[in-house]
């Protein structure tokens, strides 16, 4: 079995066109990140960016009273200079007005970070009031939900300040997912249909390990190849964003990013990036298995590609138009795994037998089950002996 898997993997890795496509798309991805972020910097005057970074490097790190005091005093000095009450300072990061604007924005960001704990405490306080009402009404589900809110949001603080907005740009970047999907479709389209096209399928199925064993070997090899490609692209993304946008504060909690203030996760940004990469990989596996189903059913590999794109568009439409039965179908929608940041940005629970369960857990379990069902279905499809019967005729 292992030698079969290695053989199938070797077939994929020795496919020159596939490898050229992977590296070409990797380069296109890197170029896209560079030129998008390059335009971002150009649009907002490089000098302003450099001044902002220099000022920011003074205050980044653990939030201390010395740093905030220094900022307050610097702002007061700048205001005095602008009002003519004081002589010009010996040096500026940009100029007096520019520095005032930058320092004020920075102070506002730090105060927001400091005030986060209080904001969340107020939320918990309001929630406790609601909890009392639910207890009086004896509504078990709402009581459990309110308690879950308390457990999730209690004792949250942001103790260090970094410019984590660059991570938002990284997490919202979907072009690499699109490219990996293209590679998935190319790789899986000919996995089974290719054997049919070349006429090897009846021969392979007549061998002892030519059905389920070979099918499993192909699936395993494909997943390993997908893992290699995904790692390449994820590393490329991280390196390019690190170089272009200076990612800092990877150990900050995920709720320190704007848009994630109410995230139910209590992990660092770095761990969240790993988690989202793993969930994206699950999404790619799901798409690849759907493509393998088409590959097992259709005779022409290019028609498998058309079916893959059609399915992808359907899933994308499903994820946009929610409501009614679509909400339940969306639990197995692999697009949700690729756009997993949306699942983690808010407190979103599903009622499972009067118990609130986070939607991302249900979505993960449903997608994983869907993957298992697809694998079994593919093996069943390839275990049929109808092809050998046609050959005998």
């Amino acid at each position: 079995m292992n030698s079969l898997i290695l053989h199938e993997l070797k077939k994929l890795l020795s496919n020159k066109i596939l490898i050229i496509v992977v590296f070409f798309l990797l380069f296109a991805n890197a170029f896209n990140i560079y030129q998008t972020n390059d335009k971002y910097h150009d649009k907002y005057n490089l000098d302003v960016n450099e001044a902002e970074w220099s000022l920011y490097e003074i205050v980044e790190g653990d939030i201390t009273s010395e740093k905030t005091k220094w900022l307050y005093e610097y702002i007061e000095k700048l205001q005095a200079v602008i009002n003519g009450e004081q002589e010009e300072l010996s040096s500026y990061f940009l100029n007096s007005h520019g520095d005032l604007s930058l320092a004020t924005n920075l102070l506002h960001s730090i105060e927001t970070a400091i005030g986060y704990g209080d904001k969340i405490d107020k939320l918990v306080e309001e929630n406790n009031k609601q909890l009392e009402i639910y207890k009086q009404k004896e509504n078990g589900y709402l009581i459990a939900k309110a308690e879950l809110v308390n457990n999730t949001y209690s004792a949250r603080q942001i103790t260090s300040f970094y410019n984590v907005e660059a991570y938002n740009a990284y997490l919202n970047y979907d072009f690499s997912s699109f490219l990996i999907l293209l590679i998935v479709f190319l790789c899986t389209a000919s996995l089974y249909a290719g054997e049919n096209e070349t006429g090897m399928l009846p021969l392979m199925r007549s061998t002892p390990m030519g059905r389920v064993t070979l099918s499993n070997a192909k699936l395993n090899a494909m997943m390993m190849f997908l893992c290699i490609v995904s790692i390449l692209f994820f590393v490329c993304d991280f390196v390019m964003f690190f170089l272009c946008l200076r990612l800092r504060g990877i150990s900050n909690p995920v709720y320190s990013m704007s848009g994630f203030e109410y995230s139910p996760l209590v992990i660092s940004i770095g761990n969240f990036m790993i988690l989202s990469s793993l969930l994206k990989y699950l999404g790619f596996v799901c798409f690849s298995l759907i493509s393998c189903v088409f590959s097992s059913l259709l005779k022409k590999s290019y028609m498998v590609l058309v079916a893959d794109f059609g399915t992808c568009i359907c899933f994308m439409a499903m994820s946009v138009y929610s409501g009614g039965g679509l909400d339940y179908l969306n639990l197995i929608n692999p697009i949700n795994m690729l756009l997993c940041r949306d699942m983690f940005s808010t407190f979103n629970v599903v009622n499972i037998f009067d118990t609130p369960v986070f939607r991302y857990i249900i979505s993960f379990i449903c997608t994983a089950l869907f993957v298992c069902i697809l694998s079994v279905f593919i093996n069943l499809l390839n275990n049929t002996n109808s092809t050998t019967k046609r050959c005998r005729k």
Binding site: I17, V21, L25, A28, F31, N32, Q35, T36, K39, F175, F178, L179, L182, F185, L186, A189, S190, G194, K300, S301, Y302, V304, L305, V306, F309, I313
Partner: protein
């Protein structure tokens, strides 16, 4: 002639491309109608009110028209405030039920279709900003599209080329064909001609179909209105009518599909695989379109995706067409006639070169020995 008909038979009957074409027409018609319905998004009363006002006041805004429209607006607002006052009086029992019913029926008739009237007012204020030309551009905006690449058309063109040329190469039939009397000369020319013809006819069919549906079922009008009355071309500096702009855009897109068809043919000749041909063709369209989406100058790069988006040549209101200067002034990116002449000449030369390359690639094949 026999060769041409046999190629059509092979494509439409044997390779079942007729089914694909019918599916494309059905899908395109349905999606176009749904887009129009969503864009119009008004109830029946509002549509009627909107059409009444637009038909009455469309065209160049003269002082008289402006005076009349302002009077309509004042009257409408007066009626709405009277209706509100009537309801207040009824709620506080200042009038009887009969009085309320009779007066409210009259006022309801006068203020019906409020959404439609508001849409007319928005069009009127846009006209005051854009140079005093009032027109209904809802249907035109959907007809022009949003600058995206039509995925279904791209897939159909690629499938057509694969079914016509690449598949024969893949299964090895070409070697047999090239050994025939007309196999290397006439057949190649016929296949190239049929590919070119179909990659022109299919988009023409689709674009004409959309125009027909918009005209007959959605009341498309104002053909001679200036281009800047369409929302998508609000900032254009081109002095074209709506109809002529649609014709030019269609021609540019058709050139894009022809370019795509011959590019796919060359890729197919090189790779000799339907799967890789389809994949590389799709990647060659969509990856540059995405990577260069923020670059205004992409419209001057002679690749199919530039032609397939097309609206940018007339400075559509899309990302990259408009920039904002430091003083807040809007800078409109636009191309000069000379730039476009050079560009389209390059595209034409490229397409001709592709046709010749295809011919050479095929004629250099070894016939079956």
């Amino acid at each position: 002639m026999k060769l041409i008909s046999s190629e059509f038979y092979k494509l439409f009957v044997k390779r079942r491309f007729a089914v694909v074409l019918i599916l494309l027409i059905v899908f395109d018609t349905v999606s176009f109608c749904v887009s129009l319905e969503n864009r119009i998004d008004l109830d029946a009363n509002s549509v009627e009110v909107y059409k009444t006002y637009i038909n009455e006041y469309s065209g160049e805004l003269t002082h008289e028209k402006i005076r009349l429209i302002e009077a309509e607006i004042d009257e409408r607002y007066l009626n709405e405030s009277l209706k509100g006052e009537l309801e207040r009086q009824f709620a506080s029992n200042e009038i009887t039920v009969e009085e309320y019913k009779s007066e409210s029926a009259i006022l309801k008739e006068k203020v019906k279709g409020t959404d439609g009237f508001n849409r007319f007012i928005n069009a009127y204020y846009d006209a005051l900003d854009n140079g005093q030309y009032l027109a209904d551009s809802t249907v035109w905006d959907v007809l022009y599209g949003n600058g995206g690449i039509d995925f279904t058309m791209v897939i159909v063109i690629i499938l057509m080329i694969i079914a016509l040329t690449v598949y024969d190469e893949e299964i090895g039939i070409n070697r047999l064909k090239f050994s025939a009397k007309n196999g290397k000369s006439q057949l190649i020319s016929v296949q190239i001609s049929v590919s070119c013809l179909l990659s022109i006819l299919i988009p023409v069919l689709i674009f004409a179909g959309r125009f027909f549906i918009a005209k007959v079922f959605f009341g498309l009008n104002g053909f001679e209105n200036p281009l800047n009355t369409a929302k998508i071309f609000e900032f254009t500096q081109w002095n074209l009518s709506l109809l002529s702009a649609y014709v030019y855009l269609s021609i540019i897109k058709i050139a894009g599909y022809v370019y795509l068809a011959f590019l796919t043919m060359i890729i197919g000749q090189v790779l000799k695989s339907s799967l890789y041909t389809m994949f590389i063709s799709l990647v060659s369209i969509y990856v540059p379109a995405y990577v260069l989406s923020t670059v205004w100058e992409r419209y001057l790069v002679p690749i199919p995706s530039s032609l397939l988006t097309a609206v940018g040549y007339f400075s559509a209101t899309e990302y990259g067409s408009l920039d904002v200067a430091e003083n807040g002034e809007i800078i409109i990116n636009t191309f000069s006639i000379e730039q476009l002449q050079v560009f389209f000449s390059v595209v034409l030369v490229t397409i001709v070169a592709m046709i010749i390359t295809n011919h050479i690639l095929w004629t250099k094949r070894q016939s079956f020995k």
